[in-house]
C-alpha cells in the first residue's frame, strides 16, 4: 500500500534514519523491531509527517506522494497512535472521536456520531462507552478510543508506536485480537516495539532496525528468536543471570519506614490509605499493582512531592515527614520516575545540564557563581561506563529517544551512592540489553547497602528482583509476601482486587 524509499532523517547529533526502504502492505501486520534509539519512532514520525525527511520518497499505491504534515498523512490514509496518547481528557469519547472526523459538519449530530462509533466498535471488538469522559478511562480503553478514532477517520494504515508498553498482559491479548480483525478487513498495520515475543505473536512480516538502518526483513514464518536477536544486536546477548544471585536476606537497619501514612489526592489521583512499609538496607521491596492504584502517589509521598495528611515517614530513623524534596534528595533519596520525559528531565537543556540538576549544590563552585561541569561529566561517565550505557552529554535532551532518556535518568539517579532508590517502571522503554544492565545496576546498589523500592507491572521482573513483594490496590497495601512463598496468580488476583485482603507478614 505504502512504500518508503531511501528515507533519511538526520538530527543535529545523530543520523536517526539512514536510507530506509520499507513496504507496508494492506492486510498485513508489520512488526518494526529495534533497540532503543534504533530509529523506529523517528521513521514512523517521518511517515506521519511529523518530521520532514532529509531525503527519500513515499509511494502510495505506486504513485509518489508528498507527506510534509500530519494533514498530508491523514489524507493519504495514514493514522498513528502515539506512545503517549493524544486524547483530550476533559472530553467524552464521542467528542474526542468527532473532533478527528474528516468533513465534520458545522452543527454536530451526536446520535449519528454515536451510531458510527457503535457500528465500528462492535465490528472490531473495541467496546467503549461513547458518553464516558476520557479522563476516567483506563489506559487500555483510551487506546481503544485512539484506534476507533483512526478507523472512523478512514485511515487505512495504522501505526502503533509502542502500543503495548502501557498495557497489562490481558489488555495486550485483547489488542492483538483487535489487530487480527483489522488485518482480515485489509487494513495495513505497523506495530513498533522492542519486544520480540509480541512481534512473533502477531506480526506477519518483521523488519528489524539497527542504528538507523534496516538490519533485515523477515516473514513471520522464517523468523525465530535467535535470528531476530542477532539482527537487533549484531551479537549474542549476555544471558540474564538474576535468579539465584540473591544473597540471603540481610536484616540491615531500616532505610525507610512509613507508619500509617495517608495522603489526600487532588483531581484524578489516588489517595493512599494507612500505608505501612519499611525498606531495610540491602533490600529490594517490589510494589505490584495495576497502574493508577497509588504507585505514583507512594513514590511522591516518599520523595516529598505529596503531603502526608496522616502518619510518619522516617528516613534512616530520622523523622522527615513532609520535608521538601531537596531535603529528601540531599539525604540520599534517588528517584527514577515512570515518565522520564515529563517527570525527570528538562527538554531544552543538554543531557549534561540535566545530569547536574539533582545535585546543583554539590557541583556549584565559587559559592554558586560557577558550575563544575567537568566533575558532572566525570561522575556521570563513570556510572554510565559501569552500566554500559552510552551517554551523549552535548545532545539536547529533547532530541533523545524515550529509551535513551530513560538511560540518562538511570545514570543520573544511580550516581552518588543513594541510600534509598525509588525506581518506578525502571525498565519501561528499555531494550533487552539495557533492561538487563539496569536491573544488574539495581542489584549492585542493593548489595552495596541501598534500600530499593521497585514499582513495576512486570511480574516477572518483580519476582526475579524483589526480596519482598507488596501488592498495592486502590491506595492500600493488600498483600505482602516473599517472592518464593507466592506465585504470580495470587498476586494477579490481589492486583485486580478480585481477592479479599490477606496480609501475611513475615
Amino acid at each position: 500500500m505504502i512504500s518508503l524509499r531511501g528515507v533519511t532523517k538526520r538530527f543535529p547529533s545523530v543520523l536517526a534514519n539512514d536510507r530506509i526502504d520499507l513496504d507496508l502492505r494492506a492486510g498485513e501486520i508489520h512488526g518494526l523491531l529495534g533497540e532503543n534509539g534504533a530509529g523506529k519512532s523517528t521513521l514512523l514520525k517521518v511517515l506521519f509527517g511529523f518530521y520532514r525527511a532529509d531525503a527519500g520518497e513515499f509511494l502510495l499505491h505506486g504513485q509518489p506522494v508528498s507527506i510534509k504534515t500530519p494533514r498530508d498523512a491523514r489524507r493519504a490514509g495514514i493514522g498513528m497512535v502515539f506512545q503517549d496518547l493524544s486524547l483530550i481528557p476533559a472530553f467524552t469519547v464521542a467528542e474526542n472521536i468527532a473532533l478527528f472526523l474528516p468533513g465534520l459538519k458545522a452543527v454536530l449530530d451526536p446520535s449519528e456520531i454515536e451510531r458510527r462509533i457503535a457500528e465500528t466498535s462492535a465490528r472490531y471488538g473495541l467496546e467503549v462507552e461513547p458518553g464516558a469522559l476520557v479522563s476516567q478511562l483506563s489506559i487500555g480503553t483510551q487506546q481503544k478510543v485512539e484506534i476507533l478514532k483512526l478507523l472512523l477517520s478512514e485511515a487505512r494504515l495504522l501505526i502503533l508506536d509502542e502500543a503495548t508498553r502501557v498495557l497489562a498482559p490481558h489488555e495486550v491479548t485483547a489488542l492483538f485480537e483487535v489487530l487480527d480483525n483489522l488485518r482480515s478487513d485489509n487494513y495495513a498495520i505497523v506495530l513498533i516495539t522492542h519486544k520480540l515475543r509480541e512481534v512473533l505473536e502477531c506480526a506477519d512480516r518483521i523488519t528489524v532496525l539497527r542504528n538507523g538502518r534496516v538490519a533485515g526483513s523477515l516473514l513471520r514464518t522464517e523468523a525465530t528468536d535467535e535470528k531476530l536477536v542477532e539482527m537487533m544486536f549484531e551479537k549474542a546477548l549476555p544471558t540474564p543471570n538474576l535468579a539465584g544471585r540473591r544473597p540471603p536476606l540481610r536484616s540491615g537497619a531500616p532505610v525507610l519506614e512509613l507508619c500509617h501514612v495517608s495522603t489526600r489526592a487532588e483531581g484524578a489521583g489516588t489517595s493512599l490509605h494507612d500505608i505501612e512499609l519499611s525498606i531495610h538496607a540491602g533490600e529490594i521491596v517490589g510494589i505490584a499493582g495495576v497502574s493508577g492504584n497509588g504507585q505514583k502517589e507512594l513514590c511522591d509521598a516518599v520523595l516529598g512531592m505529596e503531603r502526608c495528611v496522616e502518619g510518619v515517614k522516617l528516613l534512616s530513623g530520622r523523622d522527615l515527614t513532609n520535608e521538601p524534596v531537596h531535603t529528601m534528595r540531599s539525604n540520599g533519596v534517588a528517584f527514577v520516575p515512570e515518565n522520564p520525559l515529563t517527570m525527570a528531565s528538562v527538554p531544552f537543556m543538554t543531557v549534561l545540564e540535566n545530569m547536574a540538576l539533582t545535585r546543583t549544590a554539590h557541583y556549584a563552585r565559587r559559592a554558586g557563581f560557577a558550575v563544575n561541569w567537568q566533575a558532572v561529566e566525570a561522575d556521570m561517565n563513570s556510572t554510565a561506563q559501569r552500566l554500559g550505557f552510552p551517554v551523549m552529554f552535548r545532545a539536547i535532551s529533547k532530541s533523545l529517544s524515550g529509551g535513551n532518556l530513560q538511560r540518562m535518568v538511570i545514570v543520573r539517579e544511580l550516581t552518588h551512592d543513594p541510600q534509598l532508590i525509588l525506581a518506578s517502571y525502571l525498565t519501561r522503554g528499555l531494550d533487552v540489553q539495557s533492561a538487563i544492565a539496569a536491573r544488574q545496576a539495581l542489584i549492585q546498589a542493593r548489595d552495596r547497602g541501598a534500600g530499593i523500592l521497585l514499582v513495576s507491572e512486570d511480574l516477572e521482573e518483580l519476582f526475579s528482583l524483589s526480596d519482598r513483594l507488596l501488592v498495592l490496590y486502590a491506595g492500600q497495601v493488600v498483600g505482602e509476601f516473599r517472592p518464593a512463598e507466592t506465585d504470580p496468580l495470587t498476586i494477579g488476583h490481589l492486583m485486580t482486587g478480585s481477592e479479599a485482603k490477606h496480609v501475611h507478614r513475615q
Binding site: P12, M305, M349, E353, T358, F369, A370
Partner: protein, 350 residues
C-alpha cells in the same frame, strides 16, 4: 564525540547572535511599514515623518542623549519582567512595583536629605528595591502557596500603587506651591548626570544589572536551577530544586528591580516625586521584554527602538500635527508583529 561537538558549537554563537539582531530589525521594519500606511491614510507623508523621527533622535548628540535617557527606565523595567519570565512567572506588575519603589526612595530623599550622597544614594536605591520587592511579595506569596495566578494579582496591584503614592503626596509630602508633587530633592538625593546631558547613573545601573542577569543565567548554579524550573517545573521539583522558594524570591527580586527603576526615575530624571509620573513605564518594560524574548541584548536593542519611537514621536506631534496617540499605534504595531511572529522570522528548526 563530545570534543568534536563542543568545538563545532563555538563558531555558531556569533552567527546566532547576528540572526537574532537581523530578525528583530526585520520585525521592526515590518511594523514601520504598516504604520506608514496609517500615516498615508491620515494624509501625512510617511517618509518625511520617519525622517523627522530619525533626525530628531539619532541626528544630533542632544537627540541621541535624550534617547538614552528614555531607555534607562525601559531597560530596568524590562529586566524586572524578563527575570521572573525565566521561571515561568508573568510579572505584569512592573508599573506598581516602580511606584512603590519610587515612594520608598522619596521618603529617604525628603527626610534624610542632610546625609552625604555617598550614603544617601545607596540608601535610596536599597529602599527603592525594598519597596518594589514588598509590592511583589504579595503576588509572589499567593502564587507560591498555589492560591492565585501572579498575572492577575500583579496586574491588579498596578492600579493600587499609584493611589498609594497619591495618598502620600496629597497627605504628607506635597510641596508648599503644588499639591501634585513633592518639594524638589536636595542635590545629595540626585543621581549624578554625565557629559552635561540628562543621562544619569541609572544607565550604568541598568547595564550592570543586565550583564549580571546574563551571567547568572548562563554560568551560575542558580541560573541552571532557574532554567530547569522554566523548562519543566515538575521535573525540577522532583529533582529537588526548591520551586516555591524560587517563585517567591524571584518575584521579589523582579519587584526590587522595578522598584529600582522607580528610584532611578525620581532621583535621576525628575528630581522630585510627581503624581502619576510613570505613565506606563512598567508596561513599556513588559512590552520590551516580550519583544526581546527575555534576552539581555535584545532588551537593549528593543529599548533603543522604543525610545526612538517615543522621543521622536514627541517631536512628530509638534511638527506634523499628529496626536500623541498615534505613537501608541506604532508601538502596538510593533508588539503585534512580534507576537504574531511569522514563521519566516524564526530560525530554521531542525
Amino acid at each position: 564525540m563530545s570534543t568534536a561537538s563542543s568545538a563545532a558549537s563555538r563558531p555558531i554563537l556569533p552567527a546566532r547572535l547576528r540572526d537574532a539582531v537581523g530578525r528583530n530589525l526585520l520585525m521592526v521594519l515590518l511594523a514601520v511599514l504598516s504604520f506608514g500606511v496609517i500615516l498615508l491614510l491620515s494624509g501625512k507623508d510617511p517618509i518625511q515623518s520617519y525622517a523627522d523621527i530619525l533626525r530628531s533622535t539619532l541626528g544630533s548628540a542632544y537627540g541621541l542623549s535624550e534617547v538614552v535617557v528614555a531607555m534607562i527606565p525601559m531597560l530596568i523595567t524590562a529586566l524586572a519582567v524578563a527575570l521572573p519570565a525565566r521561571i515561568g512567572l508573568i510579572n505584569v506588575g512592573g508599573e506598581g512595583q516602580l511606584y512603590i519603589g519610587a515612594a520608598f526612595a522619596t521618603w529617604a530623599a525628603l527626610t534624610l536629605g542632610y546625609l552625604s550622597p555617598w550614603i544617601l544614594l545607596p540608601l535610596m536605591m536599597l529602599l527603592g528595591m525594598v519597596g518594589g520587592a514588598l509590592w511583589a511579595f504579595i503576588p509572589g506569596y499567593l502564587k507560591a502557596i498555589g492560591l492565585v495566578n501572579e498575572t492577575i494579582t500583579t496586574l491588579l496591584l498596578n492600579s493600587v500603587a499609584p493611589k498609594v503614592v497619591g495618598f502620600l503626596i496629597f497627605g504628607y509630602w506635597h510641596s508648599a506651591m503644588d499639591t501634585v508633587k513633592t518639594t524638589n530633592f536636595v542635590p545629595a538625593a540626585r543621581l549624578p548626570a554625565f557629559f552635561g546631558t540628562r543621562i544619569h547613573l541609572g544607565m550604568v545601573l541598568a547595564l550592570v544589572l543586565l550583564t549580571a542577569f546574563w551571567f547568572v543565567m548562563k554560568y551560575t548554579r542558580w541560573g541552571l536551577e532557574m532554567r530547569a524550573i522554566g523548562g519543566n517545573p515538575q521535573a525540577a521539583r522532583r529533582n529537588g530544586i526548591p520551586l516555591s522558594r524560587y517563585l517567591l524570591s524571584i518575584m521579589c527580586i523582579g519587584g526590587a528591580i522595578a522598584g529600582l527603576a522607580g528610584m532611578s526615575q525620581v532621583s535621576g530624571f525628575y528630581g522630585v516625586l510627581i503624581l502619576n509620573f510613570s505613565m506606563g513605564l512598567g508596561f513599556m518594560g513588559f512590552l520590551i521584554s516580550w519583544l526581546a524574548g527575555g534576552d539581555p541584548l535584545g532588551i537593549v536593542l528593543m529599548s533603543a527602538v522604543v525610545a526612538i519611537i517615543t522621543t521622536g514621536g514627541n517631536l512628530l506631534q509638534l511638527t506634523r500635527d499628529l496626536p500623541y496617540a498615534v505613537i501608541n499605534i506604532l508601538l502596538a504595531f510593533t508588539l503585534f508583529v512580534v507576537l504574531a511572529r511569522p514563521r519566516f522570522f524564526e530560525g530554521k528548526k531542525a
